[in-house]
């Protein structure tokens, strides 16, 4: 579904991503691991169209999408959940979800059905539908941004650090949701620092170090590899 | 510090000013002399604005307000005592008898403006983005309102006249050269270097303990003082003016010169002033010719401003740094790599 080749992202003189290549197949859950600053988020943001890469190729269903605007990427079926958990704080939970379905005008029935599905999956959001999203707890906000992204009915979900700053029990629930979404047929690219937990649910994984892909393979193999620590620490 | 390049830059920037002054002396043309003096005063104003905008990276609308402060302060001091009754009927008795040499008055105007800027601006320097722009705009409106209504020292919205015509080409050119030198030196001074570093990365500069507001304040006060110098010179060149000379129209023209030349460099400011002043004079001549020929029913006005506005927008789109965006002219010539550092 997604093929990235030779991706380069620069911030001024800093090369955050240096020729990274990766692929995600239909229905796969792929984890992208690495230490802070390894270039994972930049890679994900580049795929989502939120920043413009300096070079490389990004193909979605075989079609070149490098440099495509973020709004167009959503229409092509790739939805992004950024690590900053950007709920719109002054909009209610319901309004946030409604915006998630922005691209699906004319499909009121489908939107209503998906909304129902998301509220069933995250019951706490139903309770808080009319509250401003800014009043939600961190975990609830994380659920909201995932549910909101799902409202565009994406085929590929780009998840950036969903565990960041959350209590372990909440993280477990969120990861359970991710597994459930994947079981329903969604393709997921998951960026995580929390390697153990990500590897537990992923099919395959890539490890990034200093902007490059340092290792890749089935999740079990990566988890078993003894040099994982080393890869992380950049040794 | 690149002293040699700095000196070279100064020489290369001084050359056209001196050449122009020399040519005018030689040609003995009043029209040319008027254009040359206007150009030198524009240089003072534009380079003065560059001192703040180029180093701090913040747009200031208040600049021309300080030009007005300089012009009015100098005028109050230099208008001959026997003229004062007519020119400034409401003047405070204390100032009625005062009449100093124009040079002294101009310098006093500079001091007044610098003092006002120093007192008013310090807290403003904390602000950035829209708040900084709106406050500087608000400052311009406040200064303008004062000029418009403080009749005792400005004669109100009416024209103030009676200033001695003291600004010669030599004086204007000398001032322009001095201001160019000051701007170049300020840019390379510790304050200038730190300011420019902070403009590029405010957080990093803050992290190494740079107090940005204090740096900006120095640049702002210097910039206001130079604007006042321009105002004093202009006042003693034109000899009569009203508050509307120091408002948005003049702000626009000076800003246009700076943007087209390149706000980050003194060389850009100089180049922009030359180009726009000469283009303006050309367009004014066209306007005049059109009006004399009476091709159109009404007066042709605004053509120059329309042209300048279009040029500014095009420049900001196509060449946002202006003609000389990064390097001073003295550093441009040397394309040889690093050998002489």
């Amino acid at each position: 579904m997604l093929e990235v080749a030779g991706l380069e992202v620069r911030y001024g003189a800093v090369r955050a991503v240096r020729g990274a290549s990766l692929a995600v197949g239909d229905g796969e859950l792929v984890a992208l691991l690495g230490a802070n600053g390894a270039g994972k988020s930049s890679t994900l943001r580049a795929i989502a169209g939120a920043l413009r890469p300096a070079a490389g190729s990004i193909r979605l269903d075989g079609q070149e999408v490098l440099g495509t605007s973020p709004e167009r990427m959503v229409r092509l079926g790739a939805a992004m959940v950024p690590e900053t958990r950007d709920v719109f704080p002054d909009l209610t939970v319901g309004e946030n979800l409604r915006l998630g379905a922005f691209t699906r005008r004319g499909d009121a029935q489908g939107v209503a059905a998906d909304r129902e599905r998301m509220l069933a999956m995250f019951p706490v959001l139903r309770e808080r539908q009319d509250q401003p999203a800014g009043t939600l707890s961190g975990g609830e906000q994380q659920m909201l941004v995932i549910a909101r992204a799902m409202m565009s009915r994406p085929r590929l979900l780009l998840l950036d650090e969903p565990s960041l700053g959350l209590a372990p029990t909440i993280v477990q629930r969120i990861f359970a949701m991710i597994v459930e979404l994947r079981r329903a047929g969604l393709t997921i690219l998951l960026v995580e620092q929390n390697a153990a937990q990500a590897l537990a649910i992923a099919d395959r994984a890539y490890v990034m170090r200093q902007g490059e892909i340092a290792a890749s393979g089935p999740a079990a193999e990566i988890a078993a590899a003894t040099d994982l620590q080393q890869l992380y620490l950049g040794g | 510090m690149p002293w040699r390049r700095l000196a070279l830059s100064f020489l290369l920037l001084a050359l056209p000013v001196l050449a122009l002054a020399g040519a005018v002396q030689f040609a003995q043309s009043l029209l040319l002399e008027r254009i040359a003096i206007t150009l030198c005063i524009n240089l003072v104003l534009v380079v003065g604005l560059q001192v703040f905008m180029g180093n701090a990276g913040i747009l200031s609308f208040a600049h021309i307000g300080f030009m007005g402060v300089g012009a009015y302060a100098a005028a109050v001091l230099s208008i001959p005592a026997q003229m004062k009754g007519m020119a400034l009927p409401d003047l405070y008795p204390l100032l009625e008898g005062v009449a100093v040499a124009p040079m002294v008055a101009i310098l006093a105007g500079v001091a007044v403006a610098a003092l006002v800027a120093a007192l008013v601006s310090y807290p403003l320097m904390r602000l950035s983005d829209a708040a900084a722009v709106i406050t500087s705009f608000a400052l311009l409106v406040v200064l303008h309102t004062l000029m418009l209504h403080w009749s005792a020292v400005t004669n109100g919205p009416r024209t103030l006249f009676g200033l001695p015509k003291a600004t010669t080409l030599g004086l204007a050119a000398g001032a322009a050269l001095a201001v160019i030198a000051v701007a170049l030196l300020f840019k390379e001074s510790r304050t200038g270097l730190l300011l420019r570093a902070s403009r590029d990365d405010e957080i990093a500069a803050g992290a190494i303990g740079v107090r940005i507001p204090a740096l900006r304040w120095r640049a702002f006060v210097l910039s206001a003082a130079i604007a006042a110098l321009g105002g004093g010179l202009w006042g003693h060149f034109i000899t009569s003016f009203s508050p509307k000379a120091f408002y948005l129209k003049e702000t626009f023209v000076v800003l246009g010169m700076l943007v087209i030349g390149g706000a980050s460099t003194v060389s850009g400011a100089v180049l922009g002033t030359f180009l726009v002043t000469l283009a303006f004079e050309g367009l004014r001549a066209v306007e005049g010719a059109l009006n004399r020929a009476q091709l159109f029913a009404g007066q042709v006005v605004g053509l120059t401003e329309v042209a300048l506005a279009c040029a500014m927008i095009l420049f900001l789109i196509l060449r946002p740094g202006g003609l000389l965006p990064t390097a001073e002219i003295g550093a441009l010539r040397r394309t040889r790599p690093e050998s002489d550092r």
């Binding site: 169209g49 939120a50 605007s69 973020p70 709004e71 959503v74 229409r75 939805a79 950024p82 950007d86 719109f88 704080p89 909009l91 309004e95 409604r98 915006l99 998630g100 922005f102 691209t103 992204a149 565009s152 | 905008m53 990276g57 747009l59 807290p123 602000l127 983005d129 829209a130 708040a131 722009v133 709106i134 406050t135 705009f137 608000a138 409106v141 406040v142 309102t145 004062l146 418009l148 209504h149 948005l248 129209k249 626009f252 800003l255 246009g256 943007v259 009404g298 007066q299 006005v301 605004g302 401003e305 329309v306 300048l308 506005a309 279009c310 500014m312 927008i313 900001l316 789109i317 946002p320």
Partner: protein, 296 residues
């Protein structure tokens, strides 16, 4: 009592106009972080369109509609000329282009029409007065109040209920995130400028009613008013802009009654000093807008 009622009507009429002016400026600033210096010229354009249509046999309401449409179009042109090409560059660049565009429009009016004021056609009702509970007031004031109420209600409805309104509020809070949900940047930007033009155009009709004429510099006062109201109300808050507009009208009207003539002429100096002080105290304005905020 009568004096009080007179005061209330004056404040509401002036405040209604100010609130609409401020709202038109904030809708662009809140979403795009652009202080649109060419905002006042939208009012000028409306005036000149009315002037040019003045001799035509069209009914006034149609002329007014065309004039407002021209303001909307000019708003959209502002986006394409002064904002879109430089939006990814520096904040300063965007400010300067909008300032240059403002000067461009003003001088185009000077060049193509005239430096002197031109009279605009207005319906007779604008110059009539009515007696209301002992208060004599121009009908224009009542029209202004009614227009402001209707427009503000419609605007609130649009922002709260429509998907476009939601998208614009979302974009104001976090432009990139809104785009990552599929909200097209260009749609939001164009809508903001169009709404800004619509508000300016309608308020222009009411504003022109005071002098019944238009001159190239007519936009400056509304621009300054919008600045102050915006700063009072919070630069990013739409509700704040409206409150700021009414508050400014209250302050202005009070000062007109209270200040002696000598000081009254310095009113602008006072209000703008207040603007500076408010911004020093709260750089985002008195009333806080949405929490996060990022440029595109």
């Amino acid at each position: 009592m009568t004096a009080f009622l007179q005061f209330v009507v004056d404040v509401l009429a002036l405040g209604g106009a100010y609130a609409l002016m401020a709202l038109g400026l904030v809708i662009v600033y809140g979403i795009l972080r652009l202080v649109n210096f060419a905002y006042g010229e939208l009012i000028m354009v409306t005036g000149y369109t009315l002037f040019l249509l003045g001799g035509s046999p069209l009914p006034w309401i149609l002329m007014a509609a065309v004039a407002v449409l021209m303001a909307v179009l000019t708003g959209i042109v502002t986006d394409h000329v002064a904002f879109r090409p430089v939006r990814t560059k520096s904040v300063t660049a965007v400010l300067i282009t909008s300032f240059a565009f403002s000067t461009l429009l003003q001088n185009a009016a000077l060049l193509l029409i005239s430096p002197r004021p031109r009279s605009v056609p207005l319906p007779d009702i604008f110059s009539e007065t009515v007696r209301l509970g002992g208060v004599v007031t121009p009908v224009r004031n009542l029209i202004t109040i009614a227009t402001a109420v209707v427009l503000l209600a419609l605007f609130a409805l649009l922002m709260k209920r429509s998907v476009l309104g939601l998208a614009m509020r979302a974009a104001a809070a976090n432009f990139t995130m809104a785009r990552m949900l599929g909200v097209p940047a260009n749609l939001v930007i164009t809508s903001a400028f169009a709404i800004s033009g619509l508000l300016a155009g309608i308020v222009a009709l009411l504003w022109l009613g005071r002098s019944a004429s238009v001159a190239p510099g007519i936009g400056l006062e509304p621009l300054l008013v919008a600045f102050i109201a915006t700063v009072i109300g919070g630069m990013r808050s739409l509700e704040g802009a409206v409150i700021g507009g009414f508050l400014l009208a209250f302050i202005d009207t009070s000062l007109n009654h209270l200040l002696p003539q000598d000081l009254l002429k310095f009113r602008d100096a006072f209000t703008f000093t207040a603007v500076i002080l408010i911004l020093l105290w709260r750089p985002e304005g008195l009333i806080r807008g949405p929490a996060a905020g990022r440029r595109t």
